[in-house]
């Protein structure tokens, strides 16, 4: 059991800056994120896309913004718990007990939900029949590529994951790559390579088809694909892989008894607390009159939520407002020498 002042759910820009504000006012926090890296949507959806509306930063990419925020909270040495997801929140005597998917447990007076639009999960095949084989022979990520040796593998998708795995697995498996259109969105070099492998019959490339059904008797045997005009083909398959990117799912957050408005959590704008005492929501996941889904709004919300957390983490102390330019206490916390 890890005891801390605040558990932050979500390591996107909003969660990171809230952590900074907590550090500035002398609180500790632990940050949990379901991705394997820090940065949230900035790093997962648009690492290379420039952002033009961060105050005083005319232009920066999602990756640069993330790296700067990581740098900014470095002095506080907060722990990150990546590739993990908060599953359960329970309240006992004004303390929140937080459990993650990987079995980590926290005890804290405050939880800050900075979860964006929820956690990223791979988009799965729309076909019901695929569910039966999910995690066994229908896969959305690869942990051990050796299982595909000498097997028939049918890969769906047109992005880098689909192309890279088609190229890689074609060394030791019978690979078919299926994509819904003729163009691929992967790196040009990978697209070129796949076309070469298709020309020399190393891989079987089928475009303008999508999945219709998976078939098997106990174990997976084949996959049926369809074109928009209704033609269909059956391909022998030991494994079917789908790489359609990630979708965002609210997931367990919906089960914590919080008021919800569609997929967002209403908060008061004084401290961004939800209807549950000690649970705050900031960034894209919160809503209030006039809410803007901008990173800069998330920063503001995180700063106020941090002060809200102070009240429960230090009930016997009075919070004192200080500027970073003037406060020697803050400079000590930042490890700045003058």
């Amino acid at each position: 059991m890890i005891k801390t002042d605040v558990v932050i759910i979500g390591a996107g820009p909003t969660g990171l800056f809230c952590a900074h504000q907590l550090g500035i006012i002398g609180l500790k926090c632990e940050i949990v994120d379901n991705l394997d890296k820090i940065g949230g949507q900035c790093i997962e959806l648009y690492p290379d896309k420039p952002i033009y509306d961060i105050p005083a930063v005319p232009k920066c990419t999602g990756e640069e913004l993330t790296n700067n925020l990581i740098e900014q909270i470095k002095p506080f040495n907060f722990n990150f718990h990546l590739s993990d997801r908060v599953q359960e929140l329970k309240n006992e005597n004004d303390k929140w007990f937080v459990k993650t998917l990987n079995g980590k447990e926290f005890e804290t007076p405050n939880v800050v939900i900075a979860g964006g639009v929820g956690s990223f999960e791979p988009r799965k095949f729309p076909t019901k029949s695929a569910e039966k084989y999910d995690g066994k022979s229908v896969l959305y990520s690869i942990k051990d590529k050796n299982i595909f040796k000498d097997k028939s593998v049918v890969i769906f998708g047109g992005g880098d994951s689909a192309l890279d795995w088609a190229i890689e697995l074609s060394n030791s498996s019978k690979v078919t790559l299926v994509h819904r259109r003729d163009e691929f969105r992967g790196a040009p070099a990978s697209v070129q390579k796949v076309k070469e492998l298709s020309d020399n019959k190393t891989i079987d490339l089928i475009t303008k088809y999508s999945i219709k059904d998976v078939k098997g008797n106990g174990s997976l045997e084949s996959v049926e694909i369809k074109s928009e005009s209704g033609e269909s083909k059956v391909i022998k398959a030991d494994y079917v892989l789908g790489f359609f990117g990630l979708i965002m799912q609210l997931g367990p957050i919906a089960e914590w008894g919080l008021n919800l408005d569609k997929k967002t959590i209403p908060v008061n704008t004084e401290n961004f607390e939800t209807n549950k005492k000690g649970i705050f929501a900031i960034g894209d996941i919160c809503t209030y009159p006039g809410k803007l889904k901008l990173i800069l709004s998330g920063f503001h919300e995180g700063a106020l939520a941090a002060r809200g957390c102070f009240k429960y983490a230090r009930p016997d102390e009075k919070y004192r407002f200080e500027f970073t330019t003037a406060s020697s206490t803050i400079k000590d916390r930042l490890g700045v020498k003058e």
Binding site: Q41, L45, Y46, V117, R123, P126, G157, G158, G159, H179, R180, R181, E183, R185, S210, E228, F244, G245, L246, I247, M248, Q249, K263, D284, K293
Partner: protein
């Protein structure tokens, strides 16, 4: 101003007037029409405002897809050749009478 008809997967129709300059996605969200999630808020980075333009004439009449829209549609639920992201369709008088069909689900 344009009259736009949104048809849910179950066949339920909603016809509303959407002011010029708004997107077809925003029209649905502001009009509380179910079936369009728009998780990313209109940034062409999520594919949850996916619609079908079943009328071929209309599909051809719409402004062409910008770079990136088809890439994003690859990641939508059941994309077809008449798929569009409704956040990329900006309403003008020219869109008066447009009908969009929603997919079975967005995520």
């Amino acid at each position: 101003m344009a009259k736009i008809k949104y048809i849910e997967f179950n066949g339920k129709e909603h016809e509303i007037e959407v002011p010029n300059g708004m997107t077809v996605m925003e029209g649905a969200v502001h009009g509380n029409i179910p079936g369009i999630d728009a998780d990313c808020g209109g940034g062409m980075s999520c594919a949850t405002c996916h619609v079908y333009i079943n009328d071929d004439e209309w599909f051809k009449k719409l402004p062409e897809k910008e770079m990136g829209e088809d890439d994003m549609l690859d990641q939508a639920y059941e994309p077809k050749s008449n798929s569009r992201l409704s956040c990329q369709l900006i309403v003008s008088d020219d869109l008066d009478g447009l009908t969009v069909h929603m997919p079975e689900k967005q995520v």
